[in-house]
């Protein structure tokens, strides 16, 4: 295979991987603040795309306004989920929490399927669909948008958590909930915020990727799974690991599909997950905070 084709695979891997990274970041934010794995994370990404399609086609809005609305609505949904379904179960058994987030994930998926059916939808790329070519490689402009928006989001999140009071309060919560509570940080607010931010990040990811991969009621499961795998690759609980893991996963998946088999593309994420859980559950970078039984 020529070098250009490798580069092509690399690029499409990085593009999709960016979204895996954003999804993984969403997992990480909620996990760090609450200790829960939010099974509905993938659905936030799905909603970002589907609701944008709805705004675009249903209300005939432009692409960017549709995305804006879809992201806002998804963020609100994320917050609502925390308030309505997570908070009542938070103090109880871990098992109940897991079931609650699974239930939410299924319910969202079910509602979307009920309203939109099983079709796939898409919308146009932001700046048209003429690929840019150089050195034999064709890049879709949307890929550049995806990578650019992802980088911007990561920078914003970095700034938010390291420099703003609110963000630092959330980090404090993740290190020590009781201590945070004792210094006056409202843990409830932090948890709510973590869900809202994860929904926001996920929705943006879903919306910007839709022009490339299309969307349907069903995409949330695989995205969630891959986002989680990305978390494990980078070390659960580590935000850099999450983003890094997502990119790695995207690249591995792309090369796997291109070089080995495209039918089993979706299986790669899972194989990687299993292999890691077998041999190195603390992630490739070994930077996670999981507890062993």
């Amino acid at each position: 295979m020529e070098l250009a084709s490798y580069f092509q695979l690399l690029l499409s891997g990085i593009t999709v991987g960016s979204i895996y990274g954003l999804t993984a970041l969403g997992f990480t934010i909620i996990f760090n603040t609450t200790g829960i794995i939010n099974f509905a994370q993938g659905e936030f990404v799905m909603l970002g795309g589907m609701l944008a399609v709805f705004a675009l086609k249903g209300f005939k809005l432009g692409v960017l306004p549709s995305i804006f609305i879809s992201v806002v609505v998804t963020t609100i949904i994320g917050a609502a989920i925390e308030r309505i379904t997570i908070r009542p179960v938070r103090g109880g058994a871990v098992l109940n929490l897991i079931i609650a987030t699974i239930g939410v994930s299924i319910f969202i998926r079910g509602v979307i399927m009920f309203v939109f059916g099983k079709d796939t939808y898409g919308f146009p790329q932001f700046t048209g669909d003429i690929p840019l070519t150089f050195w034999g490689v064709a890049i879709m402009p949307q890929s550049l948008w995806v990578i650019a928006v992802t980088v911007l989001l990561l920078l914003w999140l970095f700034f938010f958590f390291k420099k703003t009071i609110f963000g630092k309060a959330m980090l404090a919560c993740s290190h020590d909930r009781k201590a945070s509570y004792l210094v006056g940080i409202s843990v409830n607010k932090m948890v709510l915020a973590s869900f809202a931010i994860s929904a926001l990040v996920g929705a943006i990811g879903g919306a910007i990727l839709t022009p490339i991969t299309l969307t349907s009621y069903d995409v949330g499961i695989m995205l969630g799974l891959k986002g989680f795998s990305a978390c494990i690759i980078g070390g659960l609980g580590n935000p850099f690991g999450a983003a890094f893991g997502g990119i790695i996963l995207g690249i591995l998946e792309s090369f796997g599909a291109g070089l080995i088999s495209s039918a089993y593309k979706d299986a790669f994420a899972f194989f990687i997950l299993l292999v890691l859980l077998f041999f190195r559950p603390t992630g490739l970078l070994g930077l996670s905070k999981i507890e062993r039984v």
């Binding site: 098992l95 239930g103 998926r109 899972f270």
Partner: protein, 319 residues
């Protein structure tokens, strides 16, 4: 009445009920629905052992159901193996794969198994769809022989109904016996406080693995009963939606209540027959049931019945 005698009595009544039903419901369509309910109940009971007692979630149990079904189907049809052998191999394969997956994942905290089984279920589904020469791909695998044991072929739907319901009763007895033992207590202990369980000499990872494998074996048993009834398998029966349906059955019926899983399974299998538009709202409904029950009725239907009954007894004794 001692727990053991109570269990025995309830199983006895259950068996009587099952045997009597065909005399009232003579329509073979209803009988087949009940057969399917019993098959689902077998999986649900096993899944309940995992969820309600060991406190772990599996989002891929449809895969264990399917692996056994396909294995037995392929071995008995393509390779002409005797049916009992095909069935046993199918069931054991499900258990073995559960063992492999369980070893790394059960050492870690709850959500790891959930994610790993989710992914595993997806993988198996893709496998069933893609390996067309072996499994027939998306259009399914046909021509599976009808179940025959010791020379008797369960040709009629009624005979199959009796077979599966009696198998279910047997599984219930086995599960009740398991729970009413030091092993059952150990499992309940693990569910509540792993720390304390360890202190009393209970090897947590081993027990969790044990339950996970058992639940896969139950699903496998259901799978082989299913395939040799329908004579046909397709990947669509073993996807994520079914795994979710199974979890919903357990939550609805009541975790850590064997009878609850039976109730949940029968309810969710029979329900679609009454709701014609069910397919559209199916997924939404499962999600809603999971959310509502886990928040308001975590003990499920069976648990609520027990609570109401206990409250009624307490009030009677006050009078």
């Amino acid at each position: 009445m001692s727990g053991f005698k109570k269990d025995g009595l309830s199983v006895f009544c259950f068996v009587l009920l099952l045997l009597a039903v065909p005399f009232f419901l003579t329509n073979v369509y209803y009988i087949n629905t009940l057969t399917l309910s019993a098959i689902h109940a077998i999986i649900a009971v096993g899944l309940n052992l995992l969820m309600g007692y060991a406190g772990q979630v599996s989002l891929g149990h449809a895969a264990f159901y399917g692996i056994a079904a396909y294995t037995s189907a392929i071995l008995t049809t393509t390779y002409g193996l005797p049916i009992p052998l095909g069935m046993v191999i199918g069931i054991l394969l499900s258990g073995f794969i559960a063992y492999i997956i369980g070893i790394p994942t059960l050492k870690l905290k709850g959500h790891y198994l959930a994610m790993a089984t989710l992914g595993f279920g997806v993988i198996v589904y893709i496998f069933f769809n893609e390996t067309i020469e072996l499994t027939g791909g998306p259009s399914g695998f046909r021509g599976v022989p009808r179940l025959a044991l010791f020379g008797f072929t369960f040709e009629s739907d009624l005979s199959y109904y009796y077979l599966t319901s009696l198998t279910l009763a047997f599984i219930i007895v086995l599960s009740l016996n398991l729970i009413n033992s030091r092993i059952g207590r150990a499992l309940k202990a693990i569910h509540t406080s792993e720390t304390a369980a360890q202190v009393f000499g209970i090897p947590i990872a081993k027990y969790k693995l044990f339950v996970f494998v058992i639940s896969a074996l139950y699903a496998g048993l259901a799978g082989v009963l299913y395939v040799h009834n329908l004579s046909f398998v397709a990947p669509s029966s073993f996807g994520f939606n079914f795994s979710v349906e199974l979890v919903t059955m357990v939550v609805l019926g009541g975790m850590a209540r064997i009878w609850g899983s039976v109730i949940g399974a029968f309810f969710l299998t029979i329900l679609p027959e009454f709701l014609r538009f069910f397919e559209n709202i199916e997924i939404m409904l499962y999600g809603a049931i999971l959310i509502v029950f886990i928040i308001f009725m975590p003990e499920g239907i069976a648990g609520s019945i027990v609570k109401i009954f206990a409250a009624w007894r307490a009030r009677k004794s006050d009078v």
